[in-house]
Amino acid sequence: MSEAELQQVKFPPEILDRIAPDISLKRHFAIGVRPNLRNFTEFKPIEIANSSQLQESNNNVISSSIIKSGSTTIINTITLGIIENINPNEEKKKKFTTIYPNVEILRGRSGAPTDEEMILSQNLYETIYKSKIIPSESLKINNLGISINNEEEEEKEKDAKQEILYPDLNSNEWQYINLSNQYNKSYSFILLSSIKVYSKSQSTNSLFDLCYLSIINCLKNLKLPRCYINESNLLSTKISIRSRKSNVRGLINTNNNKLNLNLDLNRTEKIKLNLTDGLISSNYGVVDIIKKEKESESENENENENENEKNNEKNKLIETILLCDLEGEAEETSILSRLTVITNKKGTMNKISLINGDLNSEITFDILKKAIEISQKRSLQQGV
């Protein structure tokens, strides 16, 4: 046999991780550690910043949350939009509403949102809706105020000339106000959440967990401002315009009555939500690991590769294990059986999303039970 010397190529761990994530992952598991050096059922610690600086320095931000987990930082700011409820039927049908998240994963690229960002945003949107956290009624604008130009005081002080009256707070003055049809329109707030993710190593599933946590955290201390319209806008001035096609003339309302937000912090009201305590989302991966028996390993140490492998086959002990909180490229690409669970302190669950992507390492009912158990413990300990 003419032996052409085949040089063995060696790669440092970080390169092997990049070119052959599955092999790298297997080798890590063989020695009992994960690539990120956590235990199998250990979650990555999460820090929640306790500051309201973002709301205080920005008028349009009404709630915010900053979350840090390892090298990942998530900044979530909630702003408001106002819509007129055009279709009264639809309003009645939907008892609950949701939040409109826009997730941006900042990886130094620009352009249209990636599929990953769209899927994350939509998933958060649907999850919040289906957990029935935000009743439609809580975002409805009731007691719409009217700002009145107080002519008498005008001379004294320029700033104080405007006074805002609310039907519930100023009931005495309110009875003298002449209301027009414009006032009777129904408006609602919509919650827009802009989530910025600074990360490179998180898997999509754990990003969902963190984003979910940040939204729930924002909702906890969300206060809605009051709204008012200008008195002058209340007068409905209709002008007649001729239609393009026929000679019919019609009346058009020229007022674009804009709603204004009263930014006075004393006038804000806490939003009424159906939040249960301890909501937290946890994700898991399921993978088979091969445990070599210790004796055979030491025996085979000096023998050549071939025999070593044969022996290993015999001594292979396959164990299906549950990994908590996937992280890193190797785990992201080679673990396909995954599970996300949202639990709360009450002991119920709000979401389970399970996919058995890897036919060899199956998520059995027992594993599912175990994952639920871990999640519930986590809910009690660190859920918000």
Partner: protein
């Protein structure tokens, strides 16, 4: 199935030889439509499925209340979505629109929207504030030629089939009645445009065609996939039952006699009448069926005379 349909020279010659002898591969007459198969939903309004040969399409019409455009406060909005997915044929890519796809959309849009076939002022609820938007979604299932004619036909069929919920206005507040609460109302359709696509085949050499004397190009109506692949040019004429010409579209291709254009318009008129009547009878049948199945006769207040 490959992305592009590639046919052999033999097939092309075979097709041409047939045409020379006055025979189409499908044994149809040159100016004859394939049989149209129509399904109209009886459970909801504005959903139709139409197939002609192997070309299949479904159209859904839906409505919603929105704010009108600033410069047209009295007019409702008609939107036609005719994105062709790669379901119908792999030559249509879902992510990027091909020229052919854009052309098909434009012609259908011109035939229906720009010809004012739908009375938009009738869709106004509160001028400048609330109008109906009517959305027409065309879904092309399978492509076997003639998407334009079928697309336009099915859209008009669906628009005739559609009914929007009834509303009432009281002190600026509109109430939308549920379909079961009050009988929904038809759209006001001013006329029914029908597109006819004529495909031309040049059986002689290019030069002979341009010189003119012996230009005996052949004209086919309602081409299937194979014929469409080999045609040398086509012309879309949109007409309605009132003998009005709505649209003419010929984008290059084989030059044809101007005289032939007039002849085709005349010949097309009878087909237009036929197709318009088909829409009307099908809608009528569907309404009768619905009338019977819902026992609406019980609600009649007037006596039979």
């Amino acid at each position: 199935m490959s992305r592009n349909l590639e046919l052999s020279t033999n097939q092309k010659t075979y097709l041409h030889e047939g045409l020379k002898n006055g025979i189409r591969l499908s044994n149809r007459d040159f100016l004859k439509f394939r049989d149209i198969d129509i399904y109209l939903s009886t459970d909801e309004f504005g959903y139709v499925e139409v197939s002609i040969g192997n070309t299949k399409i479904s159209v859904r019409v839906s409505s919603q209340i929105i704010k009108p455009y600033e410069d047209r406060p009295f007019e409702g909005i008609l939107t036609i979505n005719s994105e062709i997915s790669s379901m119908s044929s792999l030559k249509f890519d879902t992510n990027s629109r091909s020229q052919e796809e854009v052309l098909i959309s434009r012609i259908i849009e011109k035939a229906i929207r720009r010809s004012n076939s739908l009375d938009l002022e009738n869709l106004c609820i509160v001028a400048g504030e609330k109008v109906w938007e009517i959305i027409v979604d065309l879904n092309f299932w399978n492509f076997d030629g003639n998407l334009i004619d079928i697309g336009c036909f099915a859209s008009m069929l669906a628009l005739s089939h559609f009914k929007k919920p009834d509303i009432s206005i009281l002190n600026d507040e509109i109430k939308i009645y549920d379909i079961n609460e009050r009988e929904p109302v038809n759209l006001s359709i001013l006329h029914i445009p029908i597109c006819l696509t004529f495909s031309f085949f040049n059986l002689n050499s290019k030069e002979m065609n341009i010189k003119g004397d012996e230009a005996n190009e052949i004209c086919l109506l309602d081409c299937d996939l194979i014929e469409e692949t080999y045609r040398d040019g086509f012309l879309v004429i949109t007409l309605n039952k009132n003998r009005e010409l709505i649209q003419l579209s010929k984008n290059g291709g084989l030059p044809i006699d101007a005289q032939q254009l007039l002849e085709l318009c005349m010949k097309g008129q009878s087909i237009v009448d036929e197709l318009t009547n088909l829409i009307k009878t099908k809608i009528k049948e569907n309404e009768e069926e619905r009338y019977k199945s819902n026992n609406l006769g019980l609600l009649e207040a007037t006596a039979d005379r």
